[in-house]
């Protein structure tokens, strides 16, 4: 019998019960939320379970929701079951003041660079990562550019007129 989203959901609830929440299926992709302390346990279960066999971490990234107090940063994991060719996605949320998340590098080797990238752009501190340093941006960068509090444009420039770029008001004609 082919593995379906319903079977995955049942097995997850049988194991973790009420701790997993917000089950949805946007565009057929099973999505749920886990407490951040449980991220490794959930992944280990998905990896080891003989039915689920999610043994490939395809993507790992983060999202910044500045308006959600206490759970500003979401870390998103995309897993793939290569046997049944089925994917799922789960998120853990953390406060921006202490963005500590357990690293997945012991379980999935592909997490190494993706966690470095996520650290680079969102400042998620992956606890236990073997080499947590910037991977894409310049080493001297002292902020995390994809967090919403940092404007995209370089603020030190004086030669670009905001009005010409659709930000700010055009000078009124006299």
């Amino acid at each position: 019998m082919a593995l379906t989203n319903e079977i995955i959901k049942e097995r997850l609830i049988a194991k973790f019960g009420e701790q997993l929440s917000h089950f949805e299926e946007p565009y057929g992709l099973l999505t749920f939320e886990a407490p951040k302390e449980l991220n490794l346990k959930v992944m280990q279960f998905l990896f080891d379970d003989t039915v689920l066999q999610f043994r490939f971490l395809t993507d790992l990234t983060a999202v910044h929701y500045p308006d959600e107090k206490g759970r500003e940063l979401a870390v998103v994991y995309h897993l793939h079951n290569l046997v049944d060719n089925i994917r799922l996605r789960f998120k853990v949320f953390t406060a921006v003041e202490q963005p500590d998340i357990f690293t997945a590098t012991q379980l999935y080797s592909s997490a190494n660079w993706m966690e470095r990238e996520t650290y680079d752009f969102f400042g998620i501190l992956f606890v236990g990562h073997p080499n947590l340093k910037r991977i894409l941006n310049v080493d001297e960068m002292d902020y995390f550019p994809l967090r919403k509090e940092f404007p995209l444009e370089d603020q030190t420039r004086i030669d670009k007129d905001d009005a010409m770029f659709g930000r700010g008001t055009l000078p009124t004609k006299v």
Partner: protein, 214 residues
């Protein structure tokens, strides 16, 4: 060679007509048209007489330098594609004495930076500039190299003049090959009129000092 007897059937005649002729019959030799058709660099002003010609050293040096610039293309994106057509036969940068494009900074005179330079690439542009021997010139081709262009963002250097001094900026996104050639001719003007003492001057040293060079 004995002539082969021919059969005069209509079908064979048509076949003969449409059959491609050997290449050697298609070539019409053209006599080389070189009279008044070769551009020579004009001699600088000077005193001339029987068997001698005297002029300033700077004009001779300038004349030699401007007509044998060796460009170093540092192409990272679409402006580099435009530059490729500048190099190729249609626009032909070689007409301006820049026949030898090299990728070895130590032999080159003109650094042509074409395309977006990410902040991570900035130190590399500077390193290439430092490896070039004096006298050296820099041309920023395109909006990105000149000012960051549309990439007003955390990862892109907002103009290469933040890391190396630039002599000529070529605007455009990307600039047309004619514009790049125009920029090159302006570099030639600068080279031709440069004083031989400029690179030893205080002003030039101060300029390099601004960029933290030497």
């Amino acid at each position: 060679m004995a002539k082969q007897p021919r059969r005069s059937s209509v079908g064979e005649n048509i076949k003969k007509i449409i059959m491609a002729r050997p290449v050697r019959f298609n070539i019409h030799p053209i006599k080389a048209d070189i009279k008044d058709n070769i551009s020579l660099a004009n001699a600088p002003e000077g005193y001339t007489g029987e068997g001698f010609f005297a002029t300033q050293l700077s004009s001779v040096v300038g004349l030699a330098r401007k007509n044998s610039l060796w460009p170093l293309p540092f192409a990272t994106s679409c402006c580099g594609i435009e530059f490729m057509s500048v190099m190729a036969s249609h626009y032909d940068l070689a007409r301006f004495g820049a026949e030898r494009l090299a990728f070895s900074p130590r032999q080159c005179d003109l650094l042509m930076v074409m395309g977006t330079i990410a902040k991570k690439m900035g130190p590399i542009v500077k390193q290439v500039y430092l490896q070039m021997a004096e006298p050296r010139w820099v041309m920023a081709v395109g909006a990105c190299a000149s000012s960051g262009g549309i990439f007003d963002t955390y990862s892109v250097l907002q103009g290469i003049d933040q890391v190396v001094p630039v002599d000529v900026y070529v605007p455009g996104c990307p600039p047309r090959p004619e514009a790049i050639l125009d920029g090159f001719i302006r570099i030639q003007d600068l080279v031709g009129h440069e004083s031989v003492r400029r690179r030893n001057g205080e002003e030039y040293k101060a300029l390099l000092h601004e960029y933290g060079i030497q």
